[in-house]
């Protein structure tokens, strides 16, 4: 198991290296180069040459890449043009908040989706299955911003039990203190995922119910409930683990809509503002983080796989 983890971690490092190259190339593909982006259309050629020399953009690409990586290791991702702050500092502030939002909503989604999927599978073809499936599709088809609007109207205005704006605290602790403010963003984000996860769970359970080991378990004299919990659940979670890992980066970027909607001070909001203001160093910094999230997501999937499925453990 340890060997497997070390191996997967090393592989993840290789992928991260590739991600850094892609981000670096993107930086150089900015229209007119970063100088034009920063100095704007009114920058004189002399200003541009000076800027390029100052930033080292007139050196060879490998040298530039080397410098870029060296800066990466010291945590230097450049400075934001608009916010007058190093990108690294901005990410350090915002990333934990987005992580909090993502983890809370994913956890909520999983906690709802697993029993829901089980229930749908057990009641397959009955009215409750159709009703739940219909609801799931409705949620799945609803855009997040629309869902958020409905939540705000319902629970902040019609029945004002939760604030419409997310807490604005600086640290996670402060955010958690004002928990009622977190409810609407977390629930909005979770609802979008629940639909998909419960569909997956339902079909994974149905697949497993036709497996012969379930019949063996029945032949041992176990109740259906026990078979579900002891035998089917773990096997059905294996495909869900894939989905979770693949979905992590999407969730990260999905936070964008929710964060801007509830004015939640996370990375999504940062990205949104940066995109509107052509704040390229910030955009690239966020891209790098999403790249890392993708790699971490797949690493997480593999770890979950290995935990859930002994066959994968011994192959790796």
């Amino acid at each position: 198991m340890t060997g497997f983890l070390v191996k997967r971690f090393l592989q993840a490092l290789v992928v991260l290296f590739l991600v850094s190259i892609i981000v670096f190339v993107l930086l150089h593909m900015l229209p007119g180069g970063p100088a034009r982006a920063i100095l704007g259309p009114k920058g004189t050629p002399q200003q541009i040459t000076d800027f390029n020399h100052q930033q080292g953009y007139d050196r060879s690409l490998p040298t530039q890449y080397f410098m870029y990586v060296k800066r990466l290791f010291t945590g230097d991702l450049g400075d934001s043009y608009k916010l007058n702050s190093p990108v690294f500092e901005l990410l350090k502030q915002r990333l934990p908040k987005t992580l909090l939002l993502t983890v809370l909503s994913t956890a909520l989604a999983v906690v709802i989706a697993i029993p829901l999927g089980l229930l749908q599978a057990v009641r397959r073809g009955k009215a409750s299955d159709y009703a739940l499936t219909g609801l799931a599709f409705l949620l799945y088809a609803t855009p997040v911003f629309f869902l958020g609007l409905i939540m705000i109207i319902l629970f902040a205005q019609v029945i004002p039990i939760f604030p419409a704006e997310a807490p604005q605290g600086e640290s996670i602790g402060e955010l958690l203190k004002d928990f009622s403010g977190l409810v609407l963003p977390v629930v909005t984000m979770a609802f979008g995922i629940v639909a998909m996860f419960s569909r997956y769970m339902r079909s994974a359970v149905l697949d497993n119910l036709t497996e012969e080991y379930v019949r063996t378990a029945m032949a041992k004299g176990q109740s259906s409930r026990r078979i579900m919990v002891r035998h089917v659940l773990r096997n059905a979670l294996i495909p869900l683990a894939t989905l979770l890992g693949l979905y992590l980066p999407t969730l990260f970027s999905g936070a964008l809509v929710v964060e801007s909607m509830f004015n939640y001070p996370g990375m999504g909001l940062l990205f949104w503002n940066a995109a509107q203001g052509s704040d390229f160093p910030v955009l690239l910094g966020v891209t790098l983080v999403v790249g890392i999230a993708t790699v971490v997501g797949s690493l997480l999937t593999d770890i979950l796989y290995a935990v859930l499925d002994p066959r994968i453990r011994s192959v790796a």
Partner: protein
């Protein structure tokens, strides 16, 4: 008769443990309802072993599943009772059934690969029934008992295996785990549904022995469900033969095999290659197919396929019952009295109604003893040796063993480890061996689907390695393949006409009209209607698809057909049809077959020359009669002794020495002779030196062994 039964049922007669009474089971799906069981009645005494035998779809598995209420979705008992220990299980509530399952009735299923939970440890799975059914038992005690049970089923290092997962065990070991699971609560009844069908011959034997021994130690009753008449003949006291949802015949096992009465049972026995009077003769076949059970057939269900059927059979349904007194010829050797005396020799658990019963208006008459059909040593047929068509010289095939696309190579699997043989034109070369012995790989190399790692394949005098691209393409049509699963080997979205024509199109033979004419001729030859060209493969039955597979192989008029387990998935009666067809076409078209099979009886029936493979090595080869009558290699002899012969008398003879142990991994084959780890004759030299090929029985019969068996034993019964 009633009096006779009464007198038979003395005070010592035990009450039945299980009594199935007029059981009806329907399987309903959206489109149709199948009446899977239509009035089954069976009794089982405590400690008795009952075999339920029949071809696919006859309802034998449904019978087994219905006892524990484990019918598939849509399945339901629509009538009758299942009395077990005084309780009617057919009407029992879920908690009552759960209390019986795994506790007083244990069940073992066919496929050990899929019937264990892949994500739970062996220990947890074996201990589970104890935790469910033994109140107050702690986890620790349950695990200790589970470990003890694993030891009892012959699991090496049981304490380590407790923590292992199913995928870390071989198929045979997994089936041992499944048995341990079923028996850990010491049930009164074990239901085994095809417990050894997915296993190799030697593993099969070991598992059946194990079940036998445990049954005796624990005093369990058993229902053994199987399609394999060989298994049934050697392991049970009494047999019920099922056909189309009904019991056709029921009798003591020796009585049934010696004197079958129902015409279906008779036909089934006659279709066995083991019972063919001699090699090379036609096998008896049963024409047609079993009826579809969506509508209840009128009359005897076997009548449409029965050679003895009369108007009466088609109109009235025969009852399952003992011999009717008026039908007995006075003074005949087999009077009811003699039947009873025969039964009284059987083990002491006889039941009321356990006499020989059958549902047939025109039973096989007494005195027409089918013993005559039991194998007699076949005479050596003089086959005129043709020219050499295929020659393999020191053929080697190794597969790399890697962990993934970028992983280091961890070793090699030696699938074929230096095989040399010759196949002559017009003969059938039977290649026999257990799974993983390399016989399929060998067939694929011959067919040109794999490149050998070393060695040469010479076909019709030419080395295939030396062929140019175009020559190779032209050569391909001379060797064609026939597969075990013809459904999987045909594109499900192509019509039969296209499938059969495709090889001709690829090779550019003739015009479209020519191709269609040829296709129609082929369908005639394999006994399928010409209209079949418009249909899709899934519309055909298993036997018909095998006919299609044969037709497809013959489209290009090949010289050699490599047939890889072509009849292994078929029922006995259909198997006989295909084997007869293959023989007939060989005769008509001068075909040469490389016939690959694990089934010794089929090989014996069809092959002129036999090769025996073990772990990538050809250990013995020679004329079929010689190899079977006087095997030279200890492995061949072990195999012949391990096979279940469908004749209870042979098992009783007890001079057999079956094989022990498991086949080692082909990734780490033993040094020297690869069989030495399981060989009773192994010496030091076997570990150091690879045995040379010798011919102690005269040229043509080769063996690769340091100590070939000298004295020819009794003729084998396979």
């Amino acid at each position: 008769m009633t009096e006779l039964q009464l007198s038979d049922a003395g005070p010592g007669t035990p009450a039945p443990l299980l009594s199935i009474d007029d059981l009806h089971v329907d399987i309903a799906s959206r489109e149709r309802t199948v009446h899977a069981l239509d009035g089954i009645s069976l009794d089982l005494a405590p400690g008795e072993a009952l075999g339920v035998v029949g071809e696919s779809g006859c309802g034998k598995t449904m019978t087994a599943l219905s006892v524990l209420g484990l019918l598939p979705p849509g399945g339901a008992v629509t009538g009758g009772r299942i009395l077990f220990d005084g309780q009617d299980l057919a009407a029992a509530s879920a908690p009552t059934l759960q209390d019986v399952r795994g506790n007083t009735v244990g069940m073992v299923f066919q496929d050990p690969l899929t019937s264990l939970n892949p994500t739970m440890t062996i220990g947890a799975q074996v201990a589970e029934p104890l935790l469910l059914h033994r109140e107050g038992i702690g986890r620790k005690e349950a695990w200790a008992r589970a470990e003890e049970m694993l030891r009892l089923v012959g699991m090496p290092q049981p304490s380590e295996r407790m923590k292992a997962y199913p995928h870390q065990l071989s198929g045979g070991m997994r089936q041992r785990v499944a048995i341990a699971m079923a028996l850990v609560c010491e049930p009164k009844l074990l239901i085994a549904d095809e417990p050894t069908t997915a296993l190799d011959v030697t593993t099969q034997h070991q598992i059946l022995e194990l079940i036998d021994n445990l049954r005796r130690t624990l005093g369990m009753a058993m229902i053994l469900v199987t399609h394999d008449l060989g298994v049934i003949a050697n392991r049970v006291d009494r047999v019920a033969v099922m056909y189309a949802g009904k019991v056709a015949e029921q009798a003591d096992v020796r009585d049934l095999f010696a004197r079958p009465r129902h015409r279906y049972t008779e036909a089934l026995f006659a279709a066995l290659p083991e019972r063919a009077a001699e090699r090379g003769t036609e096998l008896h076949t049963i024409p047609g197919l079993p009826p579809s059970l969506t509508v209840r057939p009128t009359g005897c269900r076997f009548a449409p396929r029965c050679l003895f059927a009369t108007e009466e059979c088609r109109e009235r349904e025969p009852e399952l019952g003992p011999e009717l007194a008026q039908e007995l010829v006075p003074g005949s050797e087999a009077s009811p009295g003699s039947e009873t005396s025969l039964e009284s020799e059987a083990p002491a658990h006889e039941l009321v109604g356990a006499e020989h019963r059958f549902a047939c208006f025109h039973p096989v008459p007494h005195g027409d003893a089918p013993e005559a059909q039991v194998v007699t040593p076949p005479p050596a047929t003089a086959t005129e040796p043709g020219e050499v068509l295929l020659e393999l010289d020191a053929l080697v095939k190794e597969f790399p063993l890697t962990g993934g696309p970028f992983a280091r190579r961890r070793g090699t699997v030696s699938a074929v480890g230096g095989v040399s043989l010759t196949v002559r034109r017009g003969e059938t070369f039977g290649m026999v061996g257990e799974s993983g012995c390399g016989k399929t790989t060998l067939g694929r190399i011959v067919a040109g689907l794999e490149e050998p790692t070393a060695g040469t394949v010479r076909f019709d005098g030419r080395d295939l390695a030396g062929l140019s691209r175009t020559e190779r393409r032209a050569h391909r049509r001379r060797i064609q393949l026939m597969f075990q699963d013809s459904t999987a080997a045909m594109d499900p979205r192509m019509r039969v006409g296209e499938i059969l024509r495709e090889p001709l199109v690829i090779q550019g033979v003739g015009t479209r009209a020519d191709q269609e004419r040829l296709t129609a001729g082929l369908l005639d030859a394999v006994g399928l209607p010409r209209g079949a060209v418009h249909r899709y493969p899934h519309e055909f039955s298993g036997g018909q698809r095998q006919r299609l597979g044969l037709a497809r192989a013959l489209t290009l008029s090949p010289d050699l057909v490599v047939a890889d387990e072509p009849v292994s998935a078929l029922d006995v009666s259909v198997q006989a049809q295909i084997l007869n067809l293959m023989r007939e076409l060989q005769h008509d078209r001068g075909l040469t077959y490389l016939f690959i099979s694990h089934d010794l009886a089929v090989i014996r029936h069809l092959a002129d020359t036999v090769g025996v493979m073990y772990l990538g090595k050809l250990v013995e080869t020679g004329p079929a009669e010689q190899v079977y009558a006087a095997p030279l290699h200890p492995y061949t002899r072990g195999l012949l002794d391990t096979v279940n012969v469908p004749d209870p008398a042979v098992a009783a003879a007890g001079d057999r020495e079956p094989l022990h142990g498991e086949t080692p991994s082909a990734a780490k084959p033993p040094s020297g002779c690869r069989f030495r780890t399981r060989c009773p004759l192994a010496q030091d030299v076997c570990a150091t030196t690879e045995p040379p090929v010798s011919t102690p029985n005269g040229a043509g019969h080769q063996v690769a062994c340091h100590f070939p068996l000298a004295a020819p034993r009794l003729a084998s019964r396979v």
